[in-house]
Each structure stands twice: as C-alpha cells, then as structure tokens.
Symmetry: C2
Subunit: 193 residues, 2 copies
C-alpha cells in the first residue's frame, strides 16, 4: 500500500529541520546511483532550498554535475543497514541498486530513481554556485517536490507512531540514533511569540 | 563540577553529524547575543568546517559580520525552554542573557559568551564567502576549538547516558525530539568497508 502524500512546498523544510540522515539518489544519461549523506540542511522556506555536501571524489558527483538534479530520501529503521551499506562503497564499479536489491521507483518531477519504503522524499534541482562547489563541495538546490509517508508526517508535522516509522540520525561506526519521542515546551512568560 | 573536556579537532564534526538543534552565541564590541539555529551542518573534517544559515534580518547578523566569530552551543533537555525562548525573540531591544538569567561563561579562544550547561561547544571563525552570504544568508566557518561534556561525548563518540544528557532536535511549534537510543548495524556481506 502506498502511504505517500504530497507535502506543501512551504512545509518541506520541516522534513529536514531535525537533522536526519539521508539517502541521496542520482541519475544521468541512464546511470544511477545512491549514497548516504548526513551533511544536508534546509536553507530557505519558500521556495524551499537546501544545502548538500557532496565530495568531489565520488561517483555521485559526476552524476550530479551532469544532471543537476537529485532526490533526498529519508530512511527509516528498515533502511538502516542499507544506509550504512550504500555509504560504504562506490557506485563506480557496480550498480548499487542491483547489488543491494533496491527495487528503485521513479521520482515524480525529475529524472531519478528513489529508494522505496523511505519516510519522505525531496526532489531537488541544483542552483549553480561554482565557487562554493569548487572550494567546499557545497551544493545549493531548490526543492521542486516533496512527499512523505502520511503515517509519519502529515499536516506539516512529524508523528513517528512506532519504531519502524522514525527517521534516523547517524553518528559514526555503524551507530544510528532514531529520532526520539517528542516533548513540547511552552514559551517563558514575557516572550512575545 | 566542570565536565567539559577538549574534543580533538578532527572529531569535531561528530558533535554535529546527527543534526542537533543549537544555540549560537555572538559578541561584538561588548554587545552579545544568543539565538537558536537548526540550520547548521558539518562541511569538512580536518581542519573542521561547518555551514550556518543566519538570516539577514536578525540582530545576531550584525554581530557576526562585525566580529567574524561565533560559538555553536549544543543544548540538552535542561535548555529546551531556553532554546525555544531565545529563538522566539530578538536581542535588538533587550539583553537576552539578562532576560533569561543566563550566567554566560567565556569561550576559550574567541571573544564570545557561551551558555553554561550545554553538552558541547564549537568555537568558529567565519571564512568570508560574500556571494553565498548575500544570496542565501549562508556562512562558512572554520572550527577553531571544540569541547564537550565528557559524560555525553568522549573518545569521539556520543553516549547519552540519561535523558538529561541527550542532544535535541527541533521540529516546529515548541516540539523537540531528544536524540534516541543508539543501535548499531553491521555491514552486509560483500561490502568492502
């Protein structure tokens, strides 16, 4: 069953605001790849933009520079092993979708694969910033479309109803942290909200 | 008791890799401020760099452009209310340290206040990138010093021994998510780590 529903573009930043680990998918001239990335953050609200660090020594970099597009996929618990795996090898010598048995689906508005079963997706187009791309491997992109699993994200908010439907945060050495249980605090007196 | 210990600079990215919410502190010509920021990410390992989004319509922006330095403070559970509060008002009209009773301490290598009781600190100096600063409010900085509460971060790893000593992730509307309990996955067979 398909639980994906569209996320309003002005709320797309909320998919990334809490800093989850991501899978990034690419395609250029028929060649695709998937990598893991934690160094992704929102950059603007509306139209939504984000920033992504992508090392110059990766196979994905060539695909990104060729197509100018990519998809940010947000893995849940069931994709943790996959996230570690695709982050630990290159797509130069082998097709990671085949290697790891990923039955890739198609993105909606750009030409790229997506990893099925993730909690949310942001389809992006690079805004050329050659200076910081060259100096820091830093890419700026506009979010063209966003959609999420309605069980985990709806009405502009994350819910995380159970442990399978939580986003993940990555530290190092194969250790992940699921996003914890929310708590809400109130504004101290005297602050003009 | 002071639990802070130095973090090796080449491990400083691990303080931020999992995407926690931060408090950012500034000082210029005797005027200080503190704000909340989720849009912060690592940018390089060694020497460590990070990227920060800082809106042009904030009081902090002038302090940052004046001093060229800032500190990233990582709040724990006990600073959640403070994080919401300082993120919801401007330091233009009032001294937020006084308003919220923050007994600011001093940073180690730059001229800036820090918020006591946080789980980690990264002292930073801006690397001038006027193009992306102007177009996206995006700042690149080098991390000059990093230190952390040894109960929560030691030997280059986060531990989160109890709920008070967890970093936080911010969504919206006063809702925070503590970093969850870690799990470690192993590499699938056939992947060259």
């Amino acid at each position: 069953m398909n639980h994906l529903h569209d996320v309003a573009l002005e709320k797309a930043y909320r998919l990334l605001n809490h800093g989850p680990v991501t899978l990034v998918t690419f395609e250029h001239e028929g060649a695709g790849n998937v990598m893991a990335a934690s160094w992704v953050m929102p950059l603007d609200f509306d139209p939504p933009k984000l920033a992504l660090v992508l090392d110059r020594n990766t196979y994905s970099r060539g695909l990104l520079e060729g197509s100018g597009t990519f998809v940010i996929n947000l893995p849940g618990r069931q994709q943790a092993e996959l996230t570690l795996a695709v982050g630990s090898c290159s797509g130069q010598a082998q097709d990671k979708f085949a290697q790891f048995g990923i039955a890739a689906q198609r993105a909606k508005v750009i030409q790229a694969p997506i990893v099925p079963g993730c909690l949310a997706y942001l389809e992006c187009r690079v805004i050329e910033e050659p200076g910081v791309q060259a100096r820091y491997d830093l890419f700026v992109a506009e979010v063209l479309a966003a959609y999420a699993d309605e069980r985990a994200f709806s009405k502009g908010r994350w819910h995380f109803p159970d442990d399978e439907l939580r986003t993940l945060h990555y530290s190092a050495g194969g250790t992940f942290y699921p996003t914890g249980n929310p708590f809400t605090v109130t504004m101290p007196a005297g602050v003009d909200d």
